[in-house]
Symmetry: C2
Subunit: 165 residues, 2 copies
């Protein structure tokens, strides 16, 4: 490979800014969620996904919607079960599958935490930007997300152990 194309000033600012802003935002959201609802960002996201989907979700489906390893997801679901916010049921159609669904308490916790969560997101990002900038950000992130989704493995790649005989 030829000599690398280094980042120019603007590109550097975009990257460094993005990195630091996302770290700080994560920190902020985590902080507020904990002192408000007593849940993690990941846990909140699990509750949110479950609430959004009409049916209960299997571990695999849930994992596909989120960015974390199967084992990481399993751990957090376990925590939520312990707190009584989520239920694990066997999938009648597939003995292997596990169906995850919100309990009443889980839905209540989500609804209670949501307003504060949205306020945090506004205070930390959305309300800092003009309407136009929000649209730009949405558009930029759509490109990045779509591309990264196909580029970054979240599950352990079985293909790595692929044997071509």
């Amino acid at each position: 490979m030829g000599e690398p194309r280094w980042l120019n000033e603007t590109e550097m600012q975009a990257w460094a800014g993005f990195l630091e802003a996302s770290d700080l935002l994560n920190r902020l959201v985590e902080l507020h969620l904990r002192e408000a609802g007593g849940v993690t960002r990941v846990q909140y996201e699990i509750l949110h996904r479950l609430n959004e989907s009409p049916e209960s979700l299997r571990m695999t489906e849930l994992a596909a919607l989120m960015v974390c390893s199967p084992s990481g997801l399993n751990y957090q679901v376990g925590q939520l079960v312990k707190s009584g916010l989520v239920r694990r049921d066997p999938d009648p159609s597939d003995e292997r599958g596990i169906l995850i669904s919100l309990t009443e308490q889980g839905r209540a916790v989500l609804l209670a935490a949501a307003p504060g969560h949205v306020a945090t997101i506004r205070a930390g990002l959305i309300d800092l930007l003009s309407e136009q900038q929000v649209a730009q950000l949405a558009s930029i992130m759509k490109v990045a997300r779509d591309h990264l989704r196909s580029l970054v493995p979240t599950a352990p790649s079985r293909r790595a152990v692929d044997k071509r005989s």
Copy 2:
């Protein structure tokens, strides 16, 4: 507080996209760095900061430049010392202070990892965007970063333990 101002469609896309894209990018960068240079993203950042600054940095200064707790930084610096990429020296002007500086090997590792790192950043974000979008992103992230910096505590706040006697 009145009823919450929920996010509209575009705002939601901006937020969700940002969150997921940053998670995926982190993952991608971490992955590539590990298999290339054998360092973590945080470790890379430490090396990078040290290389950028003309003088060696104190722990506190380094912590201020990054987004991580003092203890987290201490751990990673410890790892880097163990690998011989970084040196800890006492600060002659202040017995408490510790000066961190790159070793020759540390600089070498950084320089070796840099091209691949930049390539990853390009492949995962920068090269997906138009020149205009990169400028927009840089501008947006500057606003967010500056604001978040003053909003999010990275060090344990001593003020919390403030005694009002």
